[in-house]
Symmetry: C2
Subunit: 204 residues, 2 copies
DNA sequence: CGGGAAGCTGAGCAAGCGCTTAGACGCTCC
DNA sequence: GGAGCGTCTAAGCGCTTGCTCAGCTTCCCG
């Protein structure tokens, strides 16, 4: 319910209405079963239309995945870039980046699952484009960590390895997060921000 | 090459020869394309036989996935349980657990990808069995962290949340690890053991 | 040498797939 | 009022899928 509301909410700016219904239906189906196990008949059915209607709005099933993947990655990148460019110390900016990124992957864990784990089903040219967006996200995190090292706030022997680990930790939230579980997205965001700061800060 | 050798090596005790070839072929195919996108014809072809020969050794395609998943999870659990039961401080045992677990997910990243990310394709009863093994793995990590807290070595406000984060961090290595990349499995294991200790240790 | 199990193949079946087509509906605009 | 357009459906095409089966070979055991 909350999850479904969130799924819909994130795609509010897609028009016409039928196209938006198709995208949200596809997100849910892809997240539950995976791209390859999802049929176009299933997507159309969830959106309340016949199988053929899908092809009026999207040329192929893969184009639906591309749309979802592109929008999701653009949003991720925007969040991380905003945290990087904000005022404040490197610790504050890193904590914000992790908190926001993790919270998004928990709240929108269906979208996150598709965005992060169904990349391999994209066509070659679409895949290349998405990989570009991912590299920019990685650069945003790395840049904050480098600032912290330069300022003497952080003690990080392996900057790119730690960047990878931080991103990996945040992303994997989409895989295991359960909306019926004990923790809210806010709580997980706060916990992870704390854990990441411990990973990079000057040791005692 | 190294990766393929590792893929084969991990399944050395399966007989007869044809069954082992099928399993290693299935691991590679599932890891590359995912379970649903892999055809039984592809698996049989990689193992050097006709599509029909697969069904002499395994009743269904899902049974192949189950076999891979079960053996992989049993090995994971054995590694973590051994680290839990070893001599030494909680710090030493946690570092060993992470180092070994991460190294395995890097060395056997094809197997790891299948084991960790294709669970959802298992039949309901097989899935339930695997979930039991996963819970035991989680308990092993949690137990080491609890020991560290009791001994005053660790400062962990949220034990189960941190346990989840540690496991998640290790598991996700299978997703991003690239054998042609700069880092060896040993190096990643050492880096991650250090990062995890920083997450749990008393802050100075 | 003979018989039966085990391993394997070529051919193919039923079902389900992504996607297309022909045609009908309702809307706007002149 | 009817032409034109965007939206949608029922039907179905061509293909691939997981899986089966009759029959062939190979090898062990007496």
């Amino acid at each position: 319910m909350a999850a479904e509301a969130a799924t819909g909410e994130a795609w509010g700016d897609i028009t016409p209405d039928a196209a938006r219904r198709l995208v949200t239906a596809a997100v849910q189906a892809f997240a539950e079963r995976g791209y390859h196990a999802t049929t176009t008949r299933d997507i159309a059915g969830r959106a309340g239309m016949s199988p053929a209607a899908l092809y009026i709005h999207y040329k192929t099933k893969e184009e639906l995945l591309y749309q979802i993947s592109k929008v999701g990655h653009q949003r991720s990148l925007a969040m991380l870039a905003e945290a990087r460019d904000a005022e404040g110390t490197a610790s504050e900016r890193l904590a914000t980046a992790v908190r926001v990124f993790v919270r998004w992957h928990a709240e929108h864990h269906t979208t996150g699952r598709v965005v992060q784990y169904e990349l391999g089903a994209l066509a070659a040219d679409h895949y290349a484009e998405i990989v570009g967006l991912r590299r920019q996200s990685e650069e945003a995190i790395r840049s904050i960590i480098e600032d912290g090292v330069d300022d003497g706030e952080f003690d990080v022997p392996d900057v790119s390895g730690t960047t990878l680990a931080v991103l990996s930790l945040c992303i994997d939230v989409a895989r295991w997060f359960n909306p019926d579980g004990r923790r809210t997205p806010d709580e997980i965001g706060a916990l992870y921000a704390d854990l990441v700061l411990r990973m990079v800060r000057q040791t005692g």
